[in-house]
């Protein structure tokens, strides 16, 4: 046993030494990659995309993954970008932050990608944000949290395409103003999604002259929220705003109607899916939410500036896959299209792509909204990119103004 120990130790030390060496070599090469890509002798543009194709975030990641693949095939069948084929390396982070970090390191250091897309979840995106900043690789996230791109000074290389919860709250408040409702009772999920929603609702309340008369919360798995709703009703609220993802809001809708409270219920973009209606059934009728336009592509009018982008993407997606692209598909689509826009305009190294995204994306029409990136705003959207939807006859319908 003792005889074996020494060779083993030696082997381990050699391995460690070699690993250290190769790491430093990699770093040098990575440093070169940015520059050499711009010299015009590239045979392909390499893009890395990390989306959560499996795990709890798979309903988000799958459409994003599909949309990215769809665009890669489309661009390459049309002869690439200015004659150079596009190569997208897709990686699945399995909805885990550790895996996302590993994949980000692999894509940047081994594959030497020009841009990093993803990931689907806020936690995973925040986990890889640091790597993108440190390695100076442009990154475009498909996750919701505002903190991914704020404060902008600490997010020089990071952009994102989905609307933030701030936009969703603004859109809800705009709707409330239109309806002449000024007193609301809020009931939020006690998780990160709900509390971040409440934070924004409180921050924006004065600006939109909204008074929050009752603030209630629940745990995601609670079986009954009647006590909280009775309290909101007793506080003379004119509407109930529920901020959470399934099943909470479905229970809230059901309890509200069972209690015989007929206040309007306004939800968040977290329930922009058919499952909410399946769960809440009749109680879902009349529930209003802010959402991206991909929830009902066929209801978007021809006058909408996004009409062409949305309908062509929707058609291409549904032709190829047997599922709906949903709003998440639109994030995946916009992410890759932004990069393609940069590459088409001659921004072909990491630094130039970042510069292009920050300075040249103005009134850029995507499927999620119309983007205006600047050095102060790396999300580039306004609340107008969201529309209001209402449940009517068991379906989400666009709410006309």
């Amino acid at each position: 046993m003792r005889k074996l120990l020494l060779p083993l130790l030696l082997a381990m030390m050699t391995a460690l030494f070699l690993a250290a060496c190769s790491e430093s070599v990699e770093k040098e090469e990575a440093g070169k990659a940015g520059g050499s890509a711009g010299s015009g002798e590239v045979s392909e543009y390499k893009i890395g995309a990390i989306y959560s194709k499996t795990g709890p975030n798979s309903p988000l990641g799958e459409p994003e993954w599909n949309a990215t693949k769809l665009i890669e095939e489309k661009i390459n069948s049309e002869g690439g970008i200015n004659g150079v084929p596009l190569k997208i390396i897709l990686a699945d982070d399995e909805s885990s932050q550790e895996k996302a970090t590993q994949e980000a390191n692999r894509l940047i250091n081994d594959e030497k990608v020009l841009v990093l897309l993803g990931s689907s979840g806020s936690g995973e995106s925040l986990a890889i944000k640091g790597i993108a900043l440190q390695q100076q690789v442009p990154m475009i996230s498909a996750a919701a949290s505002t903190h991914i791109v704020e404060p902008v000074e600490d997010a020089k290389w990071v952009f994102k395409t989905p609307q933030s919860d701030r936009h969703a709250v603004e859109r809800v408040y705009m709707y409330l103003n239109e309806q002449g409702i000024s007193k609301i009772g809020t009931i939020i999920d006690s998780n990160a999604f709900g509390s971040s929603g409440l934070e924004q609702m409180e921050a924006l309340a004065d600006e939109y002259k909204i008074e929050i008369v009752a603030k209630e919360s629940y745990n995601t798995q609670d079986p009954d929220m009647s006590a909280q709703l009775t309290k909101i009703n007793g506080a003379k609220a004119e509407a109930i705003v529920v901020w959470g993802t399934n099943p909470g809001p479905a229970v809230v809708a059901k309890n509200t109607r069972d209690l015989g409270i007929d206040l309007p219920i306004i939800g968040s973009h977290g329930i922009a899916n058919q499952n909410f209606i399946t769960l809440a059934e009749a109680a879902a009728e009349g529930v209003v939410i802010p959402t991206g336009k991909l929830l009902f592509p066929s209801q978007i009018s021809g006058d909408d500036v996004q009409f062409d982008a949305i309908s062509s993407f929707y058609k291409a997606y549904t032709d190829k896959y047997s599922s709906e692209p949903t709003n998440f598909g639109s994030y995946g689509y916009d992410n890759i299209m932004l990069v393609i826009d940069a590459l088409k305009n001659g921004a072909t190294d990491r630094e130039a792509i970042r510069e292009h995204l920050e300075n040249n994306i103005t009134n850029w029409i995507g499927t999620t909204g119309v983007f205006n990136f600047s050095d102060k705003d790396h999300n580039g959207l306004t609340a107008d990119s969201l529309v209001m939807a209402v449940v009517k006859d068991g379906k989400w319908m666009l709410l006309e103004k």
């Binding site: 798995q221 009954d224 009647s226 006590a227 009775t230 309290k231 399934n246 099943p247 769960l279």
Partner: protein, 292 residues
Amino acid sequence: MGDLLQFTLTGVTIGSIYAIVALGFVTIYSVTKVINLAQGEFVMLGGLTMYSLTSAGVPYLLGFVITIIVVSILGWIMEYLLIRRAKGADPISLIILTIGTAIFIRGIASVVWGKDQLRVAPFTENTPVNIANATITPQAIWVVVIMLLVVFLLYILIDKTMVGKAFQASSVNPLAARLMGISPKRMSSLSFTLSAALGALAGLAIAPIMFPSYDMGTMLGIKGFSAAILGGLGSAPGAVIGGLLIGLLESLGAGYISSGMKDAITFSAILLILLIRPSGILGEKSVGKGGL
């Protein structure tokens, strides 16, 4: 006044859900001294099996019976494959085994039923009943009725039948029980099967209220376990009192103090009660003695 009544009714609804889960804990504990932390998973399996059966077009009543049978068999298998093999291990090891089982069942369920919440139709027409400006849904009344029925049947089974006597005997002194011709192994097997059946029944009753999903077992397990501890582990009426108390504390706490604080209020109260009565509200001081 109307508010107080509403908070109470809501508390009773929530409390009955916890109580019905707690009864499963009590059944196994009183025979084997094992706390089965996979009890919440039995409840989940009950709800989700019913979902599959009803969406496959099986009539409601038949689906009800099949669900209970299927989950009971799973409970029996769990005892046969795990608990029996590890016989002789101390209760702590067995409890850890049940945690492993819970994680395993949850994993399988997430593959079989997916991760979305599902909807199960209520037992009867679910138009809310109005009592002096407060409302309660018929399904909630069903939960209360089933819970009371289960307590009553458990009482009959344990205190009035031979099987019950054998249960108590195996719990008090397995060796002496064996000398009297009782097989503690069979009793352990029976208690797991019975509590799986109770879990399934709980799942069936709760499913229309709660939108079951693969991960509902964890929360129900914790709340049910707390109810069982509060009432005094091993006491069926205690489990009911414990469950109802937790439900009422949550509901009144959310109603009159703050919904964000409701769990803190509830668990502070539980701690306080356990400090005064360490063995639970109806728990017996002597640990050596079994009985429901």
